[in-house]
């Protein structure tokens, strides 16, 4: 039996909604098949007010063993570093977060807000938000760069806006069943099993990427979304086209550019007008290249590939 406590800071509840849609395994499977005891969760917990406070205090004191502390949403520090804009059970949430993190065997940050600040931390960041152990790419965050939970692991970051439900439940199962040692984390503390490949990996529009045929307007079935519509699939680490959403689709399969929501900089360019759904260029060349590709090589490859593109690649074609 592994005790799990889930709290929300500066959040929209999107990751909770995502979590409740998990299928492999489902949220119910966590309880019935994998021995996870959900002490409290904002959308599932039956307790209210002082009853919740009592659970949280017992976790901190050790009266209840806290195996897994899950946090969703940003840690809010406003105003003036007090955290008073986000109070929970009578005190700033940021104070609960620090004490619970120190008491837990494992700390898991779910979603962009909890991992690196996400949309609330976008400039000018009025709520003075940050993630548990990062603020965008900068390590530190609310718990500090050197934080490790009792297990010896730092915060396990499962980013996304929202995170895919099965990324969440599969990591929770690994931790709860004593297989945390199998987890390897990347430089942003994301589990490598999910975040080593790219969103582009498995994208059904890859043939259009290869032949440098662009989607030039929403609704087209042909073309790659990277060249004009701002898709970040080639430089975003996620398994969105390997572990499909709702088990059958993904943004790019539905014709929607990847927004790069598993990367610390999300939302990119601080959502400045003209930067969303539009590939940013400098003298006609994308500012953000597919990972590992340089400008010179990109131009050469594009010219050659475009010249070799077959006629069918320029026509609408079903890619789902």
């Amino acid at each position: 039996m592994a005790n799990l406590l889930w709290l929300q800071g500066g959040a929209c509840s999107g990751n909770t909604m995502s979590f409740l849609n998990a299928e492999e395994p489902s949220a119910c499977d966590l309880v019935t098949d994998f021995g996870i005891n959900v002490l409290w969760q904002p959308s599932l917990g039956l307790e209210l007010g002082d009853e919740v406070k009592a659970i949280v205090e017992k976790c901190i004191s050790g009266e209840i063993k806290l195996d897994i502390f899950v946090f969703e949403g940003t840690v809010i520090n406003a105003p003036n570093g007090t955290g008073e804009w986000n109070r929970f059970c009578g005190r700033p949430m940021k104070d609960w977060v620090k004490e619970l993190s120190a008491a837990a065997d494992f700390v898991v940050a779910i979603g962009d807000c909890a991992t690196w600040g996400g949309i609330p931390a976008t400039a000018p960041n009025p709520s003075d938000s940050e993630g548990l152990q990062f603020l965008k790419r900068e390590k530190g965050g609310a718990l500090g760069a050197g934080f490790t939970a009792k297990s010896g692991l730092p915060v396990i970051n499962i980013p996304g806006c929202p995170a895919h439900p099965d990324w969440v439940t599969q990591i929770l199962v690994a931790v709860a069943t004593g297989r945390a040692g199998d987890l390897t984390l990347d430089e942003f503390q994301r589990p490598r099993t999910f975040f080593s490949s790219f969103t582009q990996t498995g994208c059904t529009r890859n043939m259009h990427f290869a032949y440098k045929v662009s989607t030039t307007a929403f609704g087209q079935r042909k073309g790659c979304l990277f060249y004009d519509l701002g898709c970040r699939g080639p430089m975003t680490h996620s398994p969105c086209n390997r572990i499909l959403w709702n088990r059958h689709s993904s943004k790019t399969r539905a014709g929607m550019p990847c927004l790069g929501c598993t990367e610390p900089e999300f939302p990119f360019y601080d959502l400045a007008p003209g930067t969303v759904f539009k590939t940013q260029t400098m003298m006609g060349v994308p500012k953000d290249m597919p990972e590992g590709v340089d400008k010179k090589g990109y131009i050469k490859l594009t010219a050659a590939a475009k010249g070799a593109a077959p006629a069918w690649a320029e026509e609408d074609i079903f890619v789902v």
Binding site: K212, S214, G274, M283, Y298, T302, G307, A309, E314
Partner: protein, 103 residues
């Protein structure tokens, strides 16, 4: 008018000295957006205004050390010899150029 006829008409206009806004090139994304906005608000379906605002030429332009032919542009459909930028949607030749080129 079919694409071949329209392509010939455009070629004739460019050959006969139609002055287009070749420079400055749309260097930044903001400048691209400005040119596209002008195409939407000023050009509409007017062919000459499209050519002028987009800075069409019947030869390749080199900017910042990069050749910018239609042939390598992301809006160019190789087999149809057609520019698919929604604000242009014009038949072109591979060795033409415009300042909205992107690769």
């Amino acid at each position: 008018m079919d694409d071949d006829a329209l392509r010939r008409e455009i070629a004739e206009k460019l050959k006969s000295g139609l002055k287009t806004e070749v420079w400055p090139r749309a260097e930044t994304s903001e400048q691209v957006n400005e040119v596209v906005a002008r195409l939407q608000s000023e050009a509409g379906d007017n062919l000459e205004k499209k050519l002028v605002i987009a800075g069409f030429t019947d030869h390749v332009i080199e900017a910042d050390g990069i050749e910018q032919p239609c042939e390598t542009c992301m809006y160019y459909k190789v087999h149809a010899r057609f520019c698919e930028l929604p604000e242009l949607m014009l038949p072109v030749e591979p060795d033409w150029s415009c300042r909205l080129w992107r690769i």
